[in-house]
């Protein structure tokens, strides 16, 4: 699959925020997603369409409710493209170290 739509979708702070919100709580409705973000339903819909077209969000109908799910598979495909087998563990160790050092608690 073409990676351009994924990069375009990720190149926007609001859309990244929407993905963060789905990661925290998967399967939200449009209303649940825009409420705490102080965003109109119209604006949120526009962003969600871009995320859906990039395959980063998957919508599932449950009765009359449209639920949105974070789909990390395209991001994993990008990861695999540039991260080699042997870099993986070193990167994870670095990431853990960074998290530990930056965590104030």
């Amino acid at each position: 699959m073409d990676a351009n739509p994924v990069f375009k979708a990720l190149a926007d702070a609001t859309r990244r925020k929407l993905l963060d919100r789905l990661r925290a709580s998967n399967g939200q409705t449009l209303g649940e997603l825009c409420e705490p973000l102080d965003m109109s339903r119209q604006a949120a819909t526009k962003h969600l369409v871009i995320l859906e077209n990039a395959g980063l969000v998957v919508a599932v109908w449950r009765g009359r409710e449209k639920l949105h799910y974070l789909n990390p598979v395209p991001i994993h495909e990008i990861y695999e493209r540039w991260i080699g087998k042997f870099e993986r563990q070193r990167l994870r160790a670095l990431h853990d170290l960074k998290k530990q050092l930056e965590d104030p608690s």
């Binding site: 998967n26 395959g55 799910y69 990390p72 598979v73 994993h76 495909e77 695999e80 087998k85």
Partner: protein, 156 residues
């Protein structure tokens, strides 16, 4: 059937046919290639057991369950648990594979629901599915899976 809200929905588009994708999910000789050298073993008939076992040591079963629905090459529904937890309904989750042709390619949707919150299984599948599914896609499209998924050692 429960009406609970699915917890995870994963989608990947694969340049293949529904038949080849079905075989890649259900034939242990193929699952071993991209699913961390594990065999998915069953006769895939509704009501039959299935096991996700170590290809080289089939006594090591990591996941087990029952086939709830089987409609090759379009839809497969399984229960999913640690073998030691199969008797405890709270620890048995459900996985649905849906295979739909879209133009010349195939859309695979994997839905995982009824997972126990805060469980090791929940943690494991959150990390595992994106890796296994992108490796499955790479395997079907290029004939070779992602290196970390071809051996047990590569996984960690």
């Amino acid at each position: 059937m429960s009406t609970s809200k699915p917890q995870f929905v994963y989608v990947t588009y694969i340049s293949t046919t529904p038949e080849k994708l079905w075989n890649a999910l259900t034939d242990g000789e193929l699952t071993k290639q991209y699913w961390v050298r594990h065999r998915n073993a069953s006769d895939w008939k509704p009501g039959s057991p299935w096991r996700h076992e170590d290809y080289d040591n089939p006594k090591l079963v990591d996941i087990a369950g029952q086939v709830l629905e089987s409609a090759p090459p379009r839809r497969l529904v399984l229960t999913w648990a640690n073998p030691s937890d199969l008797a405890d309904p709270a620890k048995v989750s459900r996985v649905t594979f849906e295979i739909e042709p879209v133009k010349d390619i195939v859309r695979l949707t994997v839905t995982h629901e009824e997972l126990e919150s805060e469980s090791a299984m929940l943690k494991g599948i959150t990390m595992g599915w994106p890796i296994v599914l992108s490796s499955l896609k790479t395997f079907l499209e290029t004939g070779t899976a992602i290196p970390m998924t071809t051996t047990r050692e590569g996984w960690h």
